[in-house]
Amino acid sequence: MDNSELLQVKTKSSGQVVFVVAGLIVTLVLLSQIGNQTEWTDKARNIGSQPRLWPAIALITMLAGFAIHYRLMRRRKPNALDWVEARRWAEPLEYLLWFLVYVAAVPRLGFMPMSIVFACALTYRLGYRTRLAVGIAALFAIAMVVLFKGMLGVSIPGAQVYEFLPDSIRTFFLVYL
């Protein structure tokens, strides 16, 4: 094995044609919109100041890259395996939904409570259903909130629900949890 072989990376073949054709279509659609979405101004002092220059360079590079890759592909027509792989790309949509629900819930119901609920529920959903696993997930959520919000002071606003808490503990909840 020589150096060039060691450096070579193999692109997975199944699903490749779907991705490359989709990339080509998106590039062509964006390229068709370049006249509407960017401007060519007469006020520009030189070509480097033209607002359209860099989007055009980017889109031409994309078009050339995708087209050359497509031209060099061993198989240009999608077969059953390609569609199986493309269907697998939809698998994380469930977790994406979990993530977006968590994003929507935190500003309303609180970072700490929602993190604990989310961590435990997702752990349960993933099939780790022992008390130990769910407990570790809850501990992880607590540690994460304490570290990031309590100690590092990252900016995550207090929840709307904390407004209903008594004055004595409200500030603590808003700042640390």
């Binding site: 020589d2 150096n3 060691l6 450096l7 070579q8 990376v9 193999k10 692109t11 997975k12 699903g15 991705f19 490359v20 990339g23 964006l30 919109q33 979405q37 401007e39 520009a44 002092r45 030189n46 480097g48 100041s49 607002p51 860099w54 989007p55 980017a58 889109l59 994309m62 050339a64 890259g65 995708f66 050359i68 890759h69 060099l72 592909m73 061993r74 240009r76 697998r88 790309w89 994380p92 977790y95 994406l96 993530f99 977006l100 994003v103 935190v106 961590a119 997702l122 752990t123 993933l126 099939g127 780790y128 696993a133 992880f140 990031f148 590092l152 990252v154 900016s155 995550i156 606003p157």
Partner: protein, 534 residues
């Protein structure tokens, strides 16, 4: 000497020391967990470092960057699973040693080679700093534009076998960097009338999506693996003695790491593959490479650990990140209004040397920590994939949401997470997108500034460094096109059945040919014998 003392003064703070310690220990632990990696950790921690002093934040991130490869060698050697992507080559020789019951020897060799690589790199850079301080001011707008272009060309060329798709993804990176209101003529680009796109796409949101969320999605959709930890004998100190027997391999590999680290767009992979190949060529026993060769292990580990310090050179001296991790660090500089580039070397040299000394101390802390903690670090590889995915998903939220408390940022990050997931499944590169986004922005600004000062196109390269960079770009492009042209073979696009039948026909024809040849020979022989007999 005064410079070193003032650099030590910059570092002599409890928060910097704490950041260094947390970065070192955290980096090793992150490296030891296959499936996390420094890119995910740095992306998640990035927004948290914005509230820290630049030196504290950068020390923390550098700590993770510099120490993760040490940790990544543990699962690479013991369970044949690289902890970080750059430890892939470590498995070639590390795991066969473990199978022979020499796991601790392999770990010890990896630690000592990494330590030497890291140390060598930092020492080189400390001595190179005065030279860099003299060269850096010679870089004006056009030189920085050409250096950024060189970085982009190199990141594409470095993806051998995937150059076209790497170019397309780099183009995509440049495109998403241009979205929003542009600062020269104040016009909108590709916003489609959406107000949330007017501010552009935040680099950290894209990075978190492409690296952290995509990794979470990948782990969540994976199956868990059963990991069996092998028993191994030996001392963790023996590698240091053994390393002394291979000074040439160690020195050459560390030098490859330093040189390749300094070149933007190249990075650890090329450094370690080149050092591994050269070590095999120079070795008295090249056949042992890939079967548990100590020289092979030294070559890959010394090279990849020499890169982080060297990768800081284009970032600090020119403001050009050479890879995804330094691109993320660039945002820490910008948030604190510290502009990396020639000015930093001229005005804040103590800050630059402080970072190098921090890297030096980091290597010592990491080796000390590894010598006492390897036993339990090994068990981190046992964390189930999907549980790890859940943790990264939660941490990604902290990273994205804490930037601007924007739900839209989270949605954008999720979309990029999905794109990253697809790219990872197809084994396509993600780094060109990030470098396209960062370097595209730099190139746009620098081209605009430099074209205002030139009258003819040739004026662009009338300065020595600009001319040199231009020639290097031409040589790289020319040699790549020449190599691709020479290696090009028409692609065999026949269907599998047709190909199989053709191959079968060939085999049969070969056999029949051989069969008839043999028959003829036999007949000739018989005739000959007949003739002799008569």
């Amino acid at each position: 000497m005064d410079l070193i003392f003032s650099a030590i003064d910059v570092l002599a703070r409890w928060d910097v020391m704490l950041a260094l310690l947390v970065g070192a220990v955290g980096g090793v632990a992150i490296g030891a967990i296959p499936g996390v990696g420094p890119a995910v950790a740095i992306a998640i921690l990035l927004p948290a470092t914005f509230s820290m002093d630049p030196i504290v934040g950068l020390t923390l991130l550098l700590g993770i960057y510099g120490s993760s490869m040490y940790g990544g060698s543990i699962p690479a050697i013991l369970i044949n699973t690289p902890g970080t992507a750059v430890n892939a080559l470590t498995t070639y020789d590390g795991f066969p040693m473990t199978l022979r019951g020499e796991g601790r020897r392999a770990l010890s060799l990896a630690y000592s080679a990494s330590f030497l690589g890291g140390l060598f790199s930092v020492i080189c850079l400390i001595f190179l700093s005065p030279v860099l301080a003299k060269i850096a001011p010679m870089f004006g707008s056009r030189e920085i534009f050409l250096a950024a272009l060189l970085g982009l060309v190199l990141v594409v060329v470095a993806h051998k076998g995937q150059m076209a798709i790497a170019a397309a993804l780099a183009g995509f990176g440049i495109l998403i960097g241009t979205v929003g209101l542009e600062p020269a003529a104040y016009t909108r680009r590709f916003t489609f009338g959406q107000s949330w796109l007017a501010g552009g796409l935040d680099l950290i949101v894209v990075v978190l999506g492409l690296f952290a969320l995509s990794q979470a999605f990948l782990l969540l959709t994976m199956d868990d693996e059963k990991i069996r930890l092998p028993r191994s004998r030996g001392s963790l100190f023996q590698g240091f003695r053994e390393l002394a027997r291979h000074p040439r391999v160690a020195a050459i590999s560390a030098s490859f790491g330093v040189v390749m680290g300094m070149v933007p767009g190249v990075g650890e992979f090329t450094a370690q593959f080149m050092s591994y190949t050269s070590a095999r060529k120079l070795s008295k026993n090249p056949k042992a490479f890939g079967h548990g060769s100590s020289e092979g292990l030294i070559a890959s580990e010394a090279a990849n650990n020499a890169v982080p310090a060297a990768a800081m050179i284009p970032l600090l001296a020119l403001g050009i990140p050479g890879e995804a991790l330094t691109a993320m660090m660039l945002s820490v500089f910008y948030v604190h209004n510290v502009v990396p580039g020639p000015g930093l070397f001229q005005n804040d040299m103590d800050f630059v040397v402080a970072l190098y000394i921090a890297l030096l101390v980091l290597n010592v802390i990491v080796v000390g920590f590894l010598l006492v903690s390897t036993g339990w670090l090994v068990h981190l590889a046992r964390i189930p994939n999907r549980f790890l995915g859940m943790c990264i998903l939660l941490l990604s939220f902290v990273g994205v949401y804490s930037i601007r408390n924007s739900t839209m940022d989270c949605i954008i990050a999720a979309v990029f997470g999905l794109l990253g997931f697809v790219l990872k499944r197809l084994n396509m590169p993600i780094v060109p997108i990030i470098l396209g986004m960062v370097l595209g922005g730099i190139m746009e600004v620098k081209l605009r500034a430099s074209l205002a000062r030139v009258k003819t196109p040739l004026d662009f390269i009338d300065r020595p460094i600009a001319f040199l960079l231009f020639c290097v770009i031409l040589i790289i492009l020319g040699s790549t096109i020449w190599r691709v042209w020479r290696e090009w073979r028409p692609v065999d696009r026949r269907s599998m059945q047709k190909k199989a039948s053709n191959t079968f026909a060939k085999r049969i024809s070969g056999r029949s040919h051989r069969h008839f040849e043999n028959r003829k020979k036999q007949q000739r022989r018989r005739r000959f014998y007949d003739h002799v007999g008569s």
